[in-house]
Symmetry: C2
């Protein structure tokens, strides 16, 4: 199939793609509420003529699997949906196209220019929670596949279009796909990383820090130990870990030139009861980024040790009790050989649209890529559109960029999988 025909088909479907993306953004697939968006994905896959494998996540079975992260909530009513393409005759290389349907919380809605789940197009960008991260990527792989179909052709190899839950907090959705036996010669996740090819990602651990102080009346705050202030003091000690990991001497080579790859974030805090009591309890939700190559269990132990040492060694923390509870990501970092044939093929497709090579990216967050690379025997990367303020207020994605990613994915699929006519 001729390159221009594919690009022409992608261009023709551009408005359909915007409308699909809008429909997806309109479905507020927050953690625990992914069901309706997955219903939509199932309809989309069925309309494309794909077989649909919709399956629940078997928490008990998955716990035995390496890569498991402690769940935050139940999996009741929160299935993965996979659109399965089987070629008439498999002559090319198989492919997984994966995207996560879950989106992060909106933050205070009144800070948004428009309601976060009512998509708005302005100056060539589509705004809404999940628009960039990563419903645009899902729309792109769907439209790429549809563009080929509109030309009367389809991939000449198995292709699995996966819409998974829980990428944002555990990755157990993608891990469940791996456990179900999905593997392929390559996996691409169109995360909104601005047309870069991901060759490394950091490890991420999420935990809660719970600090118990000593309550007292405010008439003599010195008689008590303020749990809120103590929690911040413990955080300071944990920031010392962050600094040590980021020291240029000890960096993983993929991050040698990055200014600050391993980030510790305090994302939520809740403590105390009442202005006039010295607070007894404070709880913080923390997120640690750490170098690839380190085992999650080893890093968790290092965090626990740092907290214990702070409690014993810091005189300002005498008498407090601090414990760490690990929930959510226990995600190890991973890397991919920068010369992998999949990267070369994706780069070729990218160059044919952009005229320049795709930058290689060592990513400072985690993605579901690790599940395929570390536990699924499937080389994987991220390649997706340009987005702004993902996880923030007024998240948006460039619609031009989504169209370009769609074209790259269509060209890559044609090249990697080969093509066959739909009707023999």
């Amino acid at each position: 199939m001729d390159r221009d025909a594919i690009l022409g088909a992608v261009a023709k479907l551009r408005e359909d793609g915007v409308s699909l993306l809008s429909d997806l953004v309109r479905s507020p697939s927050l953690l625990g509420e992914e069901g309706p968006a997955q219903d939509l994905m199932e309809r989309i896959f069925r309309d494309m003529g794909l077989e649909v494998d919709r399956f629940a996540i078997d928490e008990e079975a998955l716990k035995a699997q390496p890569g498991w992260s402690p769940s935050l909530i139940s999996y009741e009513g929160r299935e993965n949906v996979v659109g399965v393409h089987k070629p008439r005759r498999a002559t090319g290389k198989s492919l997984i196209l994966n995207g996560h349907i879950d989106v992060v919380p909106t933050g205070p809605e009144e800070l948004w220019s428009a309601p976060p789940f009512e998509p708005v197009v302005r100056d060539g960008r589509l705004y809404g929670r999940g628009a960039g991260d990563m419903k645009a990527g899902i729309a792109a792989y769907v439209m790429a596949f549809k563009a080929l179909q509109s030309l009367g052709v389809q991939p000449a190899a198995p292709v699995y279009l996966q819409s998974v839950v829980e990428e944002e907090c555990t990755g157990n959705g993608a891990l469940a796909c791996v456990a179900r036996g999905y593997k392929a010669d390559a996996a691409v996740i169109p995360e909104p990383f601005n047309h870069t090819l991901q060759i490394a990602q950091v490890g991420v651990i999420r935990c809660e820090l719970e600090v118990t102080g000593r309550p007292a009346h405010v008439l003599d705050t010195g008689a008590g130990l303020n749990a809120i202030e103590a929690a911040f003091r413990v955080l300071k000690h944990l920031k010392a870990l962050e600094s040590a990991w980021n020291h240029p001497d000890g960096r993983h080579p993929a991050y040698a030139h990055h200014h600050h790859p391993y980030n510790l974030n305090v994302g939520h805090v809740e403590g105390g009861e009442w202005a006039s009591s010295v607070p007894t309890r404070c709880r913080m939700e923390l997120r640690f980024g750490f170098p690839p190559g380190r085992a999650a269990a080893e890093v968790s132990a290092e965090i626990e040790r740092a907290v214990a040492e702070a409690c014993h060694g810091d005189s300002d923390l005498k008498g407090i009790d601090a414990r760490v509870i690990f929930r959510g990501f226990q995600a190890e970092g991973c890397t991919l050989d920068p010369d992998h044939p999949m990267l070369e093929a994706l780069d070729a497709a990218h160059r044919s649209i952009f005229g320049t090579p795709a930058p290689k990216l060592a990513q400072t967050c985690t993605t579901d890529v690790r599940n395929f690379v570390l536990y699924g025997d499937t080389p994987a990367t991220c390649y997706g559109p340009e987005a702004e303020r993902i996880h923030g207020i007024d998240e948006s994605v460039s619609l031009d960029s989504v169209a370009k990613v769609t074209a790259v994915l269509a060209l890559f699929m044609a090249d990697w999988c080969g093509l066959e006519t739909i009707d023999p």
Copy 2:
């Protein structure tokens, strides 16, 4: 009436007092839930043969009153209860005995040795939320009055036994008594201040600090402004105010020898949404103690100015937005002449029980005393039992101490008001 007769009557009623105190502790009169405990107070006053004045707090009318603090919640169903004693012939000095029925939150109940609203007596102490602060004080003034009655006598002057709401957050309950016209030659509040005579109390302002940062993905925390960390940074600037007020050179004379009279407490914090987003918002509840003699409005303005200066002058706070919302106490400090006749009379009663003078106390919290002194033309002090961990876990009061305070109040009442026989 002979001193020993009064002490004998008080001793005889000791177990009744413990049982009354237990009943009061069993009624969990948290903010907004004072109704059932006030029903109990009304029954107690009626059983004593007092007239009962139970009245709602007229928020709109009170707002015009000096001393008003912005309410936290509605006054629906939260009346004050006053037991009014009218003598047959008023020959002595009138008296207000005041106590607040509201108690502060329990904190995590699992940290308590026994459930906070199930009173337990152990080693001569009664444990429970409110046991010390200040249901023991209410029980003491009730039993003091009953002890006199049991001898066939009553005060020969008007005595008002007040059970008020909301001492712990606004003081609007006692202020409403003042506005209703209650005044007397003296007021005593048996706050659990360990047999001391209060001669000064600090001002207290409560407010919320709301900080808005700049949200971002944790993959580059440096791109965002963490609202939680920013709120702590602002707090640091406010602690500079606390330090300045506590500087020995600028202290109010009543606090000249106190090690740290003016306390800033962060009593509650809540911020962020999710471990993996740089948080947008953080809110802290703060309590400032400040010197007597300063107007609440002037101190509020100083706090607001400090926050504004922090936002403009601290490079770590560039781009954040911080505002202060004043809710709860806008309570000015106050003092009482240490040689006031009421203090002399109370001290005489104290000496007759303890053999030594009652220490004079410059208190580092606020009490309803200010409402009587500043706005009610009534000299007022606190004199109450020995309690431990008020506002904390396992609050308790010494039952011996409660019995002694009961005796002191009975002797003081007999002296200050004079006595007359109940039946002529």
